[in-house]
Symmetry: C2
Subunit: 136 residues, 2 copies
């Protein structure tokens, strides 16, 4: 997904177009990896020295909510990345050094034959952690 597509999606949902949002989206579009909130803040401060953490988190959560970003918890911090829209539901290998990801086109839920009768499944997480070829 590119920045304009994302901003279009936001417009349709009634969100305003702001310079800060554009900038946040640019950061994510550029890199295929999970990024922590403080890294986003740091990056944005180049253009907007006075950005508030409130602005960062509010937007990250909002963008996750409208499925533009994906979130996960890495090393006790929330990390975000641009959602993959080139294919369907899938999972990721995540490099514990640089945060780059590789898609895993396999969902273990499809293979679950455990008896989960009586259980209400709301969500699931399958992530593989390690070193990518560049960091290995």
């Amino acid at each position: 997904m590119n920045v304009e597509t994302a901003l279009q999606k936001l417009k349709e949902k009634g969100y305003k177009r702001t310079k800060q949002r554009e900038r946040i989206l640019e950061i994510f579009v550029k890199q295929d990896q999970y990024i922590a909130a403080k890294e986003i803040l740091k990056e944005i401060q180049n253009d907007f020295p006075g950005v508030s953490y409130d602005t960062i988190y509010r937007n990250l959560y909002m963008l996750t909510d409208v499925d533009i970003l994906e979130a996960t918890e890495l090393g006790g911090e929330k990390h975000f990345r641009l959602g993959c829209d080139t294919h369907g539901h899938h999972h990721h290998f995540i490099c514990t050094t640089c945060g780059k990801t590789k898609s895993i086109e396999f969902c273990p839920m499809d293979s679950i034959n455990e008896n989960l009768n009586g259980y209400d499944v709301e969500n699931h997480k399958f992530e593989i952690y390690g070193k990518c070829p560049q960091c290995h």
Copy 2:
């Protein structure tokens, strides 16, 4: 695993037997669910009004390190549970209301045929979240 077995394991590793450790282990042995650090603190304060958070965390991490406990991140907080030693490597359904778990005797890594050549896999996480029959 029971408290005495766990304490024996600690002894073999050179850790001392303390009342606080016994108490922490008792809590975990009693319940088949993920518990947050602050809940452990609260529980232990009944017997040791002055326990320090340092004692709680140090022990939880140490017990995880020697494979007596398992840890995971739930809702932004570290949670711990007694490791399952009745069967081999497996995963869990986790109730998002009460923290109780159900073993899932299936590991998606066994079914991974993705090409991960050049990637160094260190770890993986597969968890299913939802409501258990009691909380449903």
